[in-house]
């Protein structure tokens, strides 16, 4: 891949400078023509209008291509290589979903990914497979996987897989991937999934994209869309030459839907795989699991969430949010800014690096609505926003907006609801 | 703002003092002002940042003597909280006698811990009947073999009760008048040395102000600073040297108030526009900013002179303290005015700044005494030039 400015087309208009998200383009004086002309002289400057031209700093440029469409003079040439690295990727078939289980129970995110994976498999005209690891008793859970659309289940059992540890799981799944060659592998971006995927990708030589909010197929390739730059912009990423194409997705980003014609498990569609796990894979030992009472915020299951943002001004004002949440029977959420400022614990954080939620009602108070936050709540059924700033991005996703002071409206709403409750 | 052409190191000191103050003092200053709690957290943070030894020679664990650098740090700290600022500065006041007049053993014994911020110091001169009239102190130190027995009470001593190391001025020979006082280093927990209650003050409320009570307190002669009879010289030289530091504290308080007023004038909208666009407010701001700049120039020019070895800085030191403290008072009052009703509320920081500013016109020599001193210095100069 390469990029260059075509100097004879560049007019120095600077539109590309503004388009570059990485600040990789600067304006320089138009360079003199390199003396390939005859000694008698030629044009003193490189041909083209304008005293200044754009220059791309190749140390900073990531070849994302955002500048190309911004140039009205087609002066930016981005060359992308097509064609393989020589490796035949056609052997890789199938969309795999890692069926994360904890304490013998398959996690909801696995079902969400199966539902989404089904669409991808249909586009690719290939199979949707679930990969389930555990001790032999995990076999009881297989029906659920077929219930959400799996065509096949790879059942990887071993006594050491009962509780998740990085090394044995990486070993087991890597062996399965090497043997069965999926073209796509999806995992939930949970603490377990992120720990596993990062290691697994290097083990099998795969490209991995984290925290995707959108998945699609284009030209046979998985298009992985995710927020970047702390959530201020969206990026679409692909893995052209490496397999499997791996991606993690946060819980609740996609919805899980049971299928109509559930496949019945047979010996053909349940593939039992016995991994070879060595002593080296068992170096990390679990000493204890600690139930943390303060953790039980249960934001993910709440039907109503009232969230507070920077507009609250200080920690003690979360009291207003708590009171409104209490009268609605809902949970308290928070923006990243408030958690970073130490006003509330991270367990309440909604957003890209916090929890993804899709309650029936989400009330955002004093939250600006940066992409990073929206990524965590924009699929909520009904979104209400209260903010002093009429230009706050939150109003673009809110179904109902109140442009006003939260210190006025939130207590007012709480009071009115209390009155109606009687 | 005037460019003082700070060196890299000075910029580091200033920026670090500011960073620590914003992170450790700002979130707590209102609470400390309300409760009067002593700001140990802040002192520990300054200690960890190596900021407590800016006036202490390197061989005793400091960063080298620099009144200029010390003022840089004091100003930035006071910009966030005048109470923490004076706690910081008063420790220098209490240990300067040791630096100026101490023997090598005395300096080795006390200065490293003070420079490292592990211990604080305090300066004991003022008494109930001896404020501006320092010469009429009544605390006595009676020689008894190898010891001095100290009796008396010092009043309104900053860092009293929290400091470990005290520089005390007491009368060793009443008959000799001004030549009859001596200076001593006294440690906390010395038998016979106790503290009075913590005073309940208008401002700088987190700063601890207490009586020092001496009842037959026995102090070894090795704790004498300099020679017998040098007491007032020790006191005067100490106060002169640390006067720019108090000027820096006042400049800091004033700057902090100006910062708040500027910010508010941009945010507060009345009659459809920010009040900062109104000429009345603009004039107030200009009349706040200009004297702050002038006060700062006086303080740092004086500090620079002292660091360059000048022997003749009494006049400048007085002028810098006088002008800076009067400026701090005026600026903080005007800051409240600009914030209007909000300025009067304790939720906003400026009313505290005004309460903090007032004391700068009183302690370290009242501004009336400063005016006396300035006039006398002028006359002396004129007389000697004839």
């Amino acid at each position: 891949m390469s990029i260059k400015i075509l100097l004879d087309k560049c007019t120095g208009c600077t539109l590309c400078v503004k388009a570059c998200p990485f600040g990789a383009i600067a304006m320089i004086d138009r360079p003199a023509r390199i003396a390939t002309q005859s000694v008698a002289g030629g044009p003193a400057d490189a041909p083209g209008k304008g005293k200044k031209v754009a220059e791309i700093d190749l140390d900073v440029c990531t070849l994302c291509g955002a500048c190309v469409p911004s140039c009205k003079f087609n002066a930016i040439e981005l060359k992308k290589e097509l064609g393989g690295s020589g490796r035949d990727l056609s052997h890789f078939k199938g969309v795999w979903v890692f069926a994360e289980q904890r304490e013998g129970k398959i996690q909801s995110v696995a079902f969400e990914l199966l539902t989404e994976g089904k669409k991808l498999a249909a586009d690719l005209k290939t199979e949707l497979c679930a990969v389930l690891c555990g001790d032999p008793s995990i076999e009881e859970e297989i029906d659920h996987l077929f219930g959400y659309g799996a065509d096949k289940v790879y059942l990887i059992t071993h006594p050491e897989l009962k509780h998740y540890h990085t090394a044995p799981y990486t070993r087991a799944i890597a062996e399965a991937i090497t043997k069965y060659k999926p073209e796509i592998m999806l995992l939930g971006a949970t603490t377990l999934g992120r720990d596993l995927a990062a290691r697994l990708a290097i083990r099998v030589g795969a490209g991995l994209t984290a925290d995707c909010t959108g998945l699609a197929i284009d030209n046979g390739l998985l298009q992985q869309t995710r927020p970047a730059f702390g959530g201020n912009i969206m990026a679409t990423i692909q893995t052209p030459k490496h397999r499997p194409q791996m991606a993690t997705v946060r819980p609740k980003v996609f919805r899980k839907v049971k299928v109509q014609n559930v496949k019945i498990k047979t010996d053909e569609n349940v593939i039992r795989f016995k991994p070879v796990i060595s002593e080296e894979d068992l170096l990390v030992k679990l000493l204890e699991i600690v139930e943390d009472e303060t953790v039980k915020v249960n934001l993910a299951e709440a039907e109503i969430i009232v969230s507070g943002g920077r507009g609250l001004g200080e920690a003690k004002n979360f009291k207003l949010i708590e009171e409104l949440a209490a009268v609605l029977g809902g949970a308290v959420g928070a923006s990243r800014a408030t958690v970073d400022a130490g006003w509330i614990s991270a367990h309440h954080q909604v957003g890209q690096t916090g929890k993804t939620v899709c309650p029936k009602l989400y009330i955002a108070c004093g939250i600006a609505g940066k992409i990073q936050h929206l990524a965590g709540m924009q699929s909520s059924d009904t979104i209400v926003a209260v903010n002093k700033d009429p230009d706050a991005p939150i109003f673009k996703v809110a179904h109902y907006g109140i442009v006003g002071d939260l210190f006025e409206y939130v207590p007012l709403l709480t009071r009115r609801l209390k009155e109606l409750q009687g | 703002m005037l460019d003082y052409l700070l060196t890299e190191e000075q910029k580091m000191i200033r920026d670090l003092a500011r960073k620590v103050s914003l992170e450790k003092v700002l979130p707590k200053r209102a609470e400390w002002d309300e409760t009067g709690e002593f700001p140990w957290e802040a002192i520990k943070a300054f200690a960890a940042a190596d900021l407590c030894g800016l006036y202490v020679p390197e061989e005793y664990g400091g960063m080298g003597i620099s009144v200029f650098n010390f003022c840089l740090a004091t100003e930035e700290i006071s910009r966030v909280c005048g109470g923490v600022g004076v706690t910081f500065a008063a420790s220098a006041l209490g240990s300067t006698p040791i630096i100026l007049f101490g023997t090598d053993e005395q300096k080795k014994k006390y200065m490293p811990d003070i420079a490292a911020g592990k211990k604080l110091a305090a300066f004991g001169l003022t008494e109930a009947n001896a404020g501006s009239d320092a010469a009429s102190i009544e605390t006595t130190a009676k020689k008894d073999g190898d010891y001095y027995i100290i009796n008396g009470t010092k009043q309104w001593i900053t860092n009293g009760g929290e400091a470990e190391v005290y520089s005390l001025i007491a009368m060793t020979d009443k008959n000799k008048g001004a030549r009859g006082a001596s200076a001593f280093i006294i440690e906390k927990n010395t038998p016979g040395f106790t503290f009075g209650k913590k005073e309940n003050k208008m401002g700088i409320r987190c700063s601890a102000t207490r009586e020092l009570v001496f009842q037959d307190c026995k102090v070894h002669k090795s704790q004498l600073l300099g020679k017998e009879g040098m007491g007032f010289i020790v006191a005067m030289k100490t106060l002169d040297l640390t006067r720019p530091g108090i000027g820096a504290q006042a400049v800091g308080i004033a700057q902090g108030a100006l910062d708040e007023a500027l910010k508010y004038s941009r945010e507060r909208v009345q009659f459809g526009k920010p009040i900062g666009s109104l000429q009345a407010i603009q004039h107030l701001l200009a009349d706040m900013a200009t004297p702050i700049e002038a006060a700062r120039a006086l303080v740092y020019a004086c500090a620079r002179m002292i660091d360059a070895g000048s022997k003749d800085y009494t006049l400048s030191a007085s002028q810098s303290k006088l002008f800076a403290s009067d400026t701090a008072m005026k600026v903080t009052i005007d800051a409240i005015q600009i914030l209007g009703g909000y300025g009067y509320m304790k939720e906003y920081p400026v009313e505290k700044m005004m309460r903090d500013a007032k004391i700068t016109q009183i302690y370290e020599g009242t501004n009336q005494i400063q005016r006396n001193q300035i006039a006398l210095s002028l006359i002396k100069e004129m007389a000697s030039s004839k």
Binding site: V284, D340, Y400 | -
Partner: protein
């Protein structure tokens, strides 16, 4: 204990804004900082060093200006800082980055522990720490908020979604830390002066014997095909009227949707 900390210099993404007219990032005036989770990593390393003795070496892969971030870590108390920088590394994804860092670590000699921040606030992937562990073939423990070492082993408390896990892991290993791990110390004056004088060693691709097929853009399995700011959804309704009216309207709408 010889500890290596991997850091990244990042733009302060809490300050990045979108220009509403051009829909692009405003990069001017956005300060560069040490990735906040990496500050927790450095603090953890310094505390272990204070307890057990040893050395803390901080490394980063980045452009030349990343040396500034390294100097900050020296001001905090790190013993040595090394910049791994080469044009050939430009455009690296997490595969190439973790490979490059692991190659550099191999050149540093023996170490007991590698500590990384959980994730960088610009990429937010959390993939490089585990990647380094895999390239080096050593165990990894992620999402740590408590870390003790004793006799060649680490005892780590991990923060998971609903519970915390306590695991034991032999050293050397990679540990990635979360914010709840500690409160990073502020730099000291002596530290800042030391940092100012400090020489930051630079390692190039050749110095770390990097395989060109694993570094930079060409060594990255993933690539960005598009960057965009999502188009506005087409907003909903802004409620108007007196405050009491607005509140009543809102409650009615929410009732209509059968939420309460």
């Amino acid at each position: 204990m010889d500890i290596i900390v991997c850091i990244k210099q990042v733009p302060d993404t809490t300050e990045v804004k979108i220009n509403p007219e051009t829909n692009t990032l405003i990069r001017e005036g956005v300060p560069s900082i040490v990735n906040p989770f990496d500050e927790n990593a450095i603090e953890a390393a310094l505390q272990l060093k204070e307890k057990h003795g040893g050395k803390v070496t901080v490394i980063t892969m980045g452009p030349p200006q990343a040396a500034e971030a390294l100097k900050t870590t020296i001001a905090m108390g790190a013993d040595e800082a090394i910049l791994i920088s080469d044009r050939a590394f430009a455009g690296s994804d997490t595969w190439a980055t973790s490979y490059t860092l692991s190659q550099a670590i191999k050149k540093l000699g023996k170490f007991d522990l590698i500590i990384c921040g959980k994730q960088a606030i610009d990429g937010d992937t959390a993939q490089v720490g585990p990647g380094i562990a895999e390239w080096l073939g050593i165990p990894q423990v992620t999402f740590a908020f408590k870390l003790e070492t004793n006799d060649g082993k680490a005892k780590v408390e991990r923060m998971l979604e609903e519970v915390n896990e306590i695991v034991e892991c032999p050293l050397p290993a990679v540990v990635t830390v979360v914010k709840q791990m500690n409160e990073p110390r502020l730099p000291s004056l002596k530290g800042m002066m030391k940092a100012k004088k400090a020489e930051i060693k630079n390692l190039t691709a050749a110095d770390i014997e990097a395989d060109p097929t694993n570094i930079g853009l060409n060594g990255s399995p993933t690539n960005v095909v598009k960057i965009f700011t999502p188009p506005p959804k087409g907003g909903g309704e802004i409620l108007s009227g007196e405050p009491e009216e607005i509140v009543n309207k809102l409650i009615d709408k929410v009732k209509e949707r059968k939420i309460i």
